[in-house]
């Protein structure tokens, strides 16, 4: 129970704030104190938040800037820095046929995972926001996949999606459907990887949505019921508009995560290079960064690719921002 901040009914005394001590010091000292006080008020907030920015500069900005520095040099993983080459690395990466292919893969896997994920998560959250028996148990159990490590997920899904002896292909074989080449067919491989991502992250997002839904004032639903709105109508007219800020948060974080996808496709690939299938059917941009940096031991090209990915993510963030602003404006109109 939150502490009730209002004074209890019986207590009617009013306490006057303590008076400031009379100024005894002379005018010059008081002026100095005042100046210091003003400075204190103005600067302290910045100092309080400075640890974050110091940390951010050290672990966020520095690697970003350093990566940019590396990307304009010949830079071997073991040999270290070589000659300054300008934008040569960027040109090489953009000329590389795998870059375009893996960019398309990344966006495709991202759309296949984030889209269904948000829809399912919101639906799940709405179902959990009702008066269930053993509510906590249901709520916690949807978070279970999130606790499982991606490596274990890859092993489980690897045996599901085996091209020849996988569980899914054996099952559809009984129905007379010819086996799906999960590791060869480009679209099928994207679906398989998206399913791993969805399995892991849907419950997590559902819990965030659930938290937002519980903050929606219950009397809104009550008055809606009195007005004769059904549960579905309530969901679309009250719940969804009320959780829009949370929606924005989830969409943006899943965009960033989705475009950086690495572990699932890398573990899904069982060829020796782990670069995303024999013909890079499901290789992503971060896997290309890894490929340049650790297979070819060329940190210059790896850094250039990382920077290109950074620009792509920025572009997506701007598009998202514009879209959401538009949606927000629409919401205000209605």
């Amino acid at each position: 129970m939150p502490q009730d901040l209002k004074p209890s009914g019986g207590d009617t005394r009013t306490v006057s704030p303590p008076l400031p001590p009379p100024a005894t010091a002379g005018p010059p000292r008081s002026a100095w104190r005042q100046r210091l006080n003003r400075l204190d008020v103005r600067l302290s907030p910045y100092l309080y938040i400075s640890p974050f920015f110091v940390l951010f500069l050290l672990v966020g900005m520095f690697p970003l800037a350093y990566t940019a520095w590396v990307s304009v040099h010949d830079w071997s993983l073991i040999g270290g820095k070589g000659d300054f080459v300008g934008l040569e690395n960027f040109r090489e990466v953009l000329d590389n046929p795998y870059f375009g292919k893996q960019l398309v893969n990344t966006v495709s896997i991202f759309l296949l995972s984030s889209g269904p994920q948000v829809v399912i998560a919101v639906t799940l959250a709405a179902l959990l926001d009702t008066h269930l028996r053993a509510r906590t148990w249901w709520r916690m159990s949807i978070l279970l996949p999130f606790v499982v490590s991606p490596v274990a997920v890859a092993i489980i899904f690897g045996s599901l999606y085996g091209d020849r002896y996988g569980l899914i292909n054996e099952l559809i074989g009984h129905l007379g459907i010819s086996p799906i080449q999960w590791h060869t067919d480009r679209f099928a491989s994207h679906v398989a990887i998206a399913s791993m991502v969805n399995w892991r992250w849907t419950g997590y997002n559902a819990l965030i949505f659930l938290a937002a839904m519980q903050a929606v004032p219950r009397d809104l639903y009550e008055s809606a019921s009195i007005d004769g709105a059904g549960r579905v109508r309530q969901f679309f007219s009250i719940t969804l508009p009320m959780i829009r800020p949370t929606m924005v948060f989830v969409i943006i974080t899943s965009t960033i995560g989705g475009l950086q996808i690495f572990a699932e496709p890398r573990l899904f690939d069982q060829t020796a290079t782990h670069s995303g299938g024999s013909d890079r059917q499901f290789g992503t941009i971060t896997m290309l960064v890894y490929d340049f940096g650790w297979q070819l031991r060329d940190l210059g090209r790896a850094s250039a690719t990382a920077w290109l990915l950074f620009l792509v993510i920025c572009a997506f963030a701007i598009v998202n921002y514009l879209l959401i602003r538009r949606l927000g404006a629409l919401g205000e109109e209605s």
Partner: protein, 418 residues
Amino acid sequence: MRLASSALMALTLATTLAACGDDGDAEGSADGTTTVTVATFNEFGYEGLIEEWNSSHDDIKIEQVKVGTWDDAKANLYTKLAAGSGLSDIEAIEGDAMPAILAEGGAFEDLTDSELEGRWLDWVAEKATNADGQMIGYATDIGPEGICYRADLFKKAGLPTDREEVAGLMGTWDDYFATGEKFIEEVPGTAWYDSSGGLAQAMLNQVENPFETDDNTVDVENPELQAVYDTVTGNIAKGLSTKLTQWSDDWTASFQKDGFATMACPGWMLGVVEGNAEGVEGWDFANVFPGGGGNWGGSFLTVPAQGDNIEEAKEVANWLTDPEQQIKAFEAKNTFPSQPEAYEAEAIKTATNEFFNDAPVGQILVERAEAVTVQPYKGPKYSDILQAFQAAIIRVDDGSQDPDKSWEQFLSDVEALG
């Protein structure tokens, strides 16, 4: 004062972070013992040896750091070489990667020791010696190849099952493939060998200059490599291959499903087969390899120069690769010694393997090792090109490209290696 306290807080945080940078962890502990860490992958068979050393030495203790595959070990190795710290005192290196390691001058200690001359087979010692004549790694095992086969499936196809007779069937690659065609006619649904990638590797090990000329110039458009590629991709259409990627889940499962009848087996592969085919009866091991002998793999122990216990590490690496110790490793995991002295040992001569129908694996592997006449030249880019080559074969195997298109892509991949 708020201003002062928050300033202090920020300062403390900044200095704490800075201090995190240089926590050099000296291994030498208070009680005077030194711990030497040994990083290995797959199975080296060292568990018993390490126990033996630790119970008889007080000053130096060995600690093993094990990872699953060479791929993982390699990623770790390169990352930490680049960082300049964090490697184990002894790092095991897969044989095909040795040329690339030799090219990293200065990152590894010179292990040359006149007392150890003649311990290893000449060509093995050569693989670990750099251009300046320094020995960078002590060889552990080698991988002389024989043929593992399913006697029960041979019987079904009307082929002989006795390992001597089987050996007579596959002296050359042509004989091997011809027998295979006969086999798949009789036993449809079962492939002749485990994977196109594995077969390609076996054939490459008989080519003198598969990817690079002796002066390290990359030359992948040579007729011999082309011949291997054409043979392997041609067999895919005939149905001799499982079309599976070696080491994939499907490949592992195919051991349990009568997926194929034969495979190229270096000594260290015997343990892999036994593990994957657990419960399957009928495996045997023939003293033959098509087209003469072949060596596949074998590893080396190196001492990275960045370590703190270099002298102790050299001593341990020396001891672990001593014939006496390698014989014990063979008994544990069938890793075949690279030390000729070991071949005289009774323990190896008389070693049999129950899983492979009591085949005299020790004697067969000794003969297989003697049959190795060609050692492919492997330059610094060998393992990178090999990966691209394997990917090219997989593209044909899984049907995503035809052989010509896949070859074109292989050429451009090699180009991109820089």
